[in-house]
Subunit: 154 residues, 2 copies
DNA sequence: TGCTATTTAATTGCAAGCTATATATTTTGC
DNA sequence: GCAAAATATATAGCTTGCAATTAAATAGCA
């Protein structure tokens, strides 16, 4: 099988390639989730829960939708997840006094303390990727671009 | 903010980058799923169901684990999914006569017929990605490599 | 003012996806 | 041949993630 230039690719193979990309994206994402599952087990967090904690460690006392904007998730996903983190004692959910439609999410002392314990996670994930920094950077940029285009065309 | 070479990246920024890559992967995957949800609605298929159908359109009469090997999914995910496809009349699940532990998954006439209707999906997804073919190819390769490394290190 | 439109969260119902476990069958070792 | 190990699928229980809907509060405007 000869290598082909992009000009020589048939429409058919383009379409297959496209399917292959989507599948690669899908299965890489599942594989990443599995790695995080293992690493986050000691913190008793899932990956989406960890993402919420990362957001709050960076900036505390956000509304549900402010968290959602950063993570591209809506209240249907976040509300139950935040309730579980609240039940775990990591954060508080309080109606805003100024605008009672909003719910302010604030870390508890326990939630802030967890940041230290989570300190080793990034380097462990980095090792699991087995990537060079340049590679990570390029991939990150491409995936962000792809996400934006997909979100605009759906 | 000056652009940095990889040599100049601090450990801290490397770790942040790594987190950013994982989040980019996660959210791009969700965005892709949403695009497929729209496109597959007319076929009454979800994306994982579509993947199973792609596998069977390529090669019919596979066992549950043969499908699982191709999609990196196990029976806990596949059995309920296959039951739904069976209930939709797209495939049959029959215990193998030679080895009664195995279940053979075979397309029904309706399942085979759906292939034609699905013909337009790849090009529609391709448009939604807004990518050049070269870009798709590079990304696919990188994601497959990443998936493999993550799977080996978890 | 009062009434409608908008915004924010929450809820419902569904399909994945995972770990851990169970069940049935086949293979292996003696 | 038979008990133990291995294999294949299924099930239970949990957490996402989503579309669609609801409930409540605020904003906007005649």
């Amino acid at each position: 099988m000869k290598p082909k230039t992009s000009a020589a690719l048939s429409t058919q193979s383009m379409l297959q390639l496209d399917q292959q990309l989507c599948f690669a994206l899908y299965s890489a994402s599942l594989a990443m989730n599995k790695v995080y599952r293992t690493l986050l087990a000691k913190l008793r967090l899932t990956y989406p829960q960890y993402l919420v904690m990362l957001v709050l460690w960076e900036r505390d006392a956000l509304t549900v939708s402010e968290i959602g904007e950063r993570l591209f998730l809506d209240s249907a996903t976040l509300t139950p997840l935040l309730k579980r983190l609240e039940a775990a004692g990591l954060l508080d959910r309080v109606r805003s006094a100024e605008d009672e439609r909003q719910v302010i999410i604030s870390l508890t002392a326990e939630g802030r303390a967890l940041k230290k314990q989570a300190g080793s996670v990034p380097s462990e994930v980095f090792c699991a990727t087995g990537c060079e920094v340049d590679e990570l950077l390029a991939l990150k940029t491409q995936l962000n671009d792809l996400r934006e285009r997909l979100a605009n065309n759906s």
